[in-house]
Symmetry: C2
Subunit: 338 residues, 2 copies
């Protein structure tokens, strides 16, 4: 798999173009740009890369399904492999949502996981992953010539001004995922293709990560959480991210908050824990629709990112002039739906 | 009232100090720093500056109260005055929570507000506020000599590197509120006290704003929302912010999501709308505790902000090196509680 780094260079160029009154009044909203994107700008997500969690029905008898897209290599490959093993072993069936901390995370797994005597035994075959795997090396030598296009020819000043944020030297999307990384240096032409960068996935809303104990523990993948508040970027490079919720996050984000430390349900709230019926890989779920994401390398995505940073649709009077990477979520939809 | 601008200069200095292994292992978490702050670092919130919303009890018969702190002048003074008028008229009593959009906002007011024929009449005395009031002028002439201390003597490079973000030239706290503003320029000594800046409140998690129609409408204050997701900073300077939820936000953020456009409850979900029993100003509520916030000008806050940006407590292995203004929420508590 080749790494495809996409930043908001195109969006910044767009911003520089003068806007006429006519254009302002007709400017589409980001959702309209996404709806109008051609089919060729969408990338299918393989069912095998989905993790499907079914919770017990709610108080009104409604189904509650959460669909998670797992990250491809080189991101968090060890943990993702463990998650596949756990799903195939049906390990999560009968576990529960144990923690819902407002403006932070919803977390699931074995409610007795902290208690050695009562913890549910893990299946065989799980690998132990090193802390070094929280980041990966974005090495230009791995980028084939045909992909070394103008998207990679970042002017360092653009990187600083357009994509640098409080947490990283650059932000952007690689293979459809929100990624941050170390500062771009000045790259002389001769070393252009040999400049390694450290990069890591970003804790945006709905991203899924691996709960763990104190370092050097890195977690197995049995304990998972998703972000349900403002991006907790201080967790970047400290915990493994393994995917994102692409459908049904409201089944986690709208759960009652836990009243115990860190938002775990306390003893009096034991009955608030929502049981997990089952978690399966997508290719083991018969009734699963097909999903696709809007390629961050597409022209439609560039317009969408620009519109997220500079709202010109009629409701807005002052475009922000920028957007952090978590405010430009990669659009995901059921295949072919508008 | 004097404007007190506090940025993270102190925090940045702290970062530069070398950390010994001993110190790292004993580093307190942000919550521990807040708990240890002396009583003198806390600022009491006047009950008259609180807005207290009581929802009907939940399915288990539990009370649901949301406490909002209103912003002081010069922020959004016209809208805040309207909100006081609406509360004193008991206008919200019997209205409801009408919109809950995941990763965005929960909104309340008259469910028929869009329908001229059915809309609930507003009380007399509401003022119409100009769009110009979305921002305010931070004028050094208004800052008294005794407050022109080193906190104001910002080195522009610090402003750029430490507090600039994707949305604004600087971010920080004024009078305990998250504020962004236009870029600091180079200020010659002779004009040091005469440099006007445009500034505005920031749409962080739990901030409360004023719903409105298409511009130039600015809303009356009868339709309010709070942020329940990643900071929607594109709304800054486009909608009035009037306060923040300081207690009970889980009573809004954990509500079922609306399935209609923009997260409004659709016809089939009408029964999901939670009725509002009453909204009152804090000085009209008999059983209200006292609240206080940690002064962003205090030494404890500087240590807290630094720890938010650079977690050194044992769980963390890689400090982020920065934090956006919404990831440094101003701590608020019931008076005197740890």
């Amino acid at each position: 798999m080749f790494l495809r780094l996409v930043t908001f260079t195109a969006a910044l160029t767009w911003l520089a173009a003068p806007a006429t009154a006519q254009r302002v009044s007709q400017a589409p909203a980001p959702s309209e740009i996404v709806a109008a994107a051609p089919a060729s700008d969408w990338v299918a997500i393989a069912p095998a890369d989905l993790l499907v969690m079914d919770l017990v029905t709610d108080a009104k008898g409604r189904d509650r399904r959460v669909v998670i897209q797992l990250m491809p290599p080189p991101f968090s490959a060890g943990w993702v492999a463990n998650i596949r093993t756990l799903a195939k072993a049906h390990w999560w069936d009968g576990t529960s949502i144990n923690r819902v901390q407002d403006n932070y995370v919803a977390q699931w797994g074995d409610p007795d996981g902290e208690d050695v005597a009562k913890a549910k035994p893990l299946p065989p075959g799980l690998v132990k992953v090193s802390q070094n795997e929280y980041t990966f090396r974005l090495d230009w030598r791995n980028v084939p010539d045909e992909l070394v296009n103008e998207q990679y020819e970042l002017d360092p000043s653009v990187s600083r001004l357009g994509n640098r944020d409080k947490y990283a030297g650059f932000t952007g999307h690689i293979d459809g995922w929100p990624i941050a990384g170390s500062e771009f240096g000045q790259r002389p032409a001769s070393t252009r293709k040999y400049h390694p960068l450290m990069a890591w996935p970003v804790h945006c809303y709905a991203m899924v990560g691996v709960g763990r104990g104190m370092p050097p523990d890195t977690g197995t993948g049995a304990e998972l959480y998703t972000v349900i508040g403002h991006a907790p970027r201080h967790l970047d490079r400290n915990i493994a991210l393994v995917g994102r919720v692409i459908e049904g996050i409201e089944n986690l984000s709208s759960l009652p908050r836990g009243k115990g430390p860190l938002g775990f349900y306390d003893a009096a709230q034991g009955d608030e824990r929502v049981p997990i019926l089952r978690i399966r890989l997508g290719d083991a779920v018969a009734d699963l629709p097909s999903y696709e994401y809007l390629s961050p390398g597409s022209a439609a995505f560039a317009r969408y990112a620009d519109a997220r940073a500079n709202r010109r649709d009629p409701f807005f009077i002052t475009p922000a002039g920028g957007a952090d990477v978590c405010n430009i979520p990669v659009p995901v939809r059921r295949h072919g739906t508008p």
